[in-house]
Symmetry: C2
Amino acid sequence: MRRFVVIGQTALASGDFLLDDVAGTSGRLDVLLRCIRASLLSSHGLRRDVVVYLVLLGGPLAPRTVRIDGATAKFIRPDERMLSVMFQKVLSERPQPGRVHPDTGEGFVDVRSGIAIASGGLEAVLADLERAALYVLDEGGSDIRSEPALGGPDEAFFLGDHSGFGEKTRERLVALGARWISVGPVSLHADDSITIVNNELDRRSG
Amino acid sequence: MRRFVVIGQTALASGDFLLDDVAGTSGRLDVLLRCIRASLLSSHGLRRDVVVYLVLLGGPLAPRTVRIDGATAKFIRPDERMLSVMFQKVLSERPQPGRVHPDTGEGFVDVRSGIAIASGGLEAVLADLERAALYVLDEGGSDIRSEPALGGPDEAFFLGDHSGFGEKTRERLVALGARWISVGPVSLHADDSITIVNNELDRRSG
């Protein structure tokens, strides 16, 4: 499985943003929404082997994380407007801190087919990843094309938003032994970096 | 110079679309708008060596082409909402068929810094490209990573929208000797293909 984890340091963890100005009212949730398209959609529809986690660290309801699983998600549109509408609905469901998932007991709770929310940030994601190999996308990392192990059965790629990673996130990923990799010589938006990772993995698996 | 030419077979050549539903009311202009971000923006701002042409073949005012030049463009935002607002303004300027550019005599007419419109489609673009090497992004092309000549001083990359190219466009590009290239084994959205071309060229020039 291919997993992308995007850390939104200011992205609002509630639906209290304006659809007509998502970029200006949501702590740059728009950056994360564009990562949904880049992660999950090809010309032929949904990538069934991809899961994307959006970690929302902004606002009074933070931290919360939305997980979208390409295997079971439906109606994922490429345009930001429809992604914003979907996300606002998902985030506006009343948070239920005491709610327990019947199967897993904790962590992510399904809110619709293929979409789940956890009342937590990085730690909730790490618990969900289990034994995935961890990679951090970063300008200073080694070239993705030269990574020998890339293309394994379960891999998770961490990306920062427009302002990068917070120091604590960075330290936690270092401690976990994540590999630092770079997509190329020019620093790119998170969604572009995801596109290049998908392309590299498509090439290795194809 | 790096140039991207996106052919919107149904994309509306006027501003008569709804900002709250660009994907549903503009002949999928949203597909082309996303190509602006992918072509022109890196983490550090505008790519000054990139020009993008959006060929609009839908609606009664078609064909028209909007050209955005990274060398002189201003206020290019990554989010689709702001790109839609900008584009609606640009397209809503009254078409002036008889207007002649003081320098070139015909072709593209500046409507604001770095943004120009031509009353024409593919032929207006081809006249503007002059001697650029032509490439067509297509699933059936040869692998971009194996293209020996790629990375020259002036190159233009043609992309279709969600429904590909029209037959006439395809034939014209064949006749001009364009090279057919592919970005990888999975068919991608136009904006993802542009991201991968930019990355390959960044690698060759860096």
